[in-house]
């Protein structure tokens, strides 16, 4: 199945499909996500969840885009499913029931963007220290070195230390 054919097949059910740089992307709504993933798995053999991640666009609505990268082991084609989330309601249903491999990916996305995956069995930070405050990959986070957070001690980064 070529990219155009794949895009056409997806478009019959979910009209918002884009083909760019040899990649097919479909945008679905938050409430139809689980249903869409199930249908894509059944009809197009997209049975493997390769990655779950997000992007941040401050000042726009939707601000966050959660991206699910799907792969078909049978047909060897790929599809990206994207869901837009607004800033004040960054919640999305978890897909761990259908794709157990999404477990740690969703935790990572939560860890860095603060997007809450509702229904996730164990939604806590995975890479950052557990007592970390903030969501470091949001574009609104301050760039540069951060204070050393160690046993309650706060030591500023080198460029902000007084000599």
């Amino acid at each position: 199945m070529t990219l155009a054919e794949l895009a056409d097949r997806v478009r019959t059910r979910y009209p918002d499909v884009a083909v760019a740089r040899d990649e097919v992307t479909v945008v679905v709504g938050r409430e139809e996500l689980l249903e869409a993933l199930g249908a894509l798995r059944l009809e197009l053999g997209l049975d493997s969840m390769v990655s779950v991640t997000a992007t941040d666009w401050p000042g726009r609505d939707p601000r966050f885009w959660v991206a699910y990268e799907l792969y078909s082991n049978e047909h060897r084609h790929r599809l990206r499913v994207k869901v837009g989330l607004s800033e004040d309601d960054a919640r999305i249903p978890s897909v761990t029931a259908a794709f157990p491999t999404a477990d740690w990916h969703e935790r990572e996305t939560y860890d860095f963007y603060g997007i809450v995956f509702e229904g996730h069995p164990d939604l806590r930070r995975i890479l950052l220290p557990e007592d970390w405050e903030g969501w470091p990959l949001r574009k609104t986070e301050e760039l540069g070195g951060v204070n050393t957070r160690f046993h309650g001690a706060f030591i500023p980064p080198v460029d902000r230390r007084s000599t």
Partner: protein, 172 residues
Amino acid sequence: MPVERLEGFQTGRTTQEDEQELKRGLLLTTVERAVNWARKQSMWPVTFGLACCAIEMMATGAGDYDLSRWGMELFRASPRQADLMIVAGRVSQKMAPVLRTVYDQMPEPKWVISMGVCVSAGGMFTNYAIVQGVDTIVPVDIYVPGCPPKPEMLMYGILRLHEKVRTQGHIT
């Protein structure tokens, strides 16, 4: 034995005086100087390679650069058997408590070499993930610059540390 080789004993006398002492078959020094010399001559580094600097550290210990010339080619896997920690590679915020635990487990006296710019000041990683200078967590004796430092640079740092141990060490 040639008198120059006695330099390491730090007898506190000139080589001529040492020669006189040797002729009498007697060599005097202080306990502190002898102990410091012994400590300097047999350091036990703990393995603490965290990133690319560790590759250079391993190269320093291997045949080409031959750290065993100073009696410290063997990196101990247990901090309880070591007295020198060469922090080689960027320290992430999450690694910081682990690093401190390893340091605390080392018996006194102990020394720390901060190898490379990432360990010393964060380096290119001026972001949320990396500790901006390992001296915010453990006391550092020698900073070795470079990204990563060549084995010669690490060896120079080690020799400077030896000098520090020999001249500034204390027996407590």
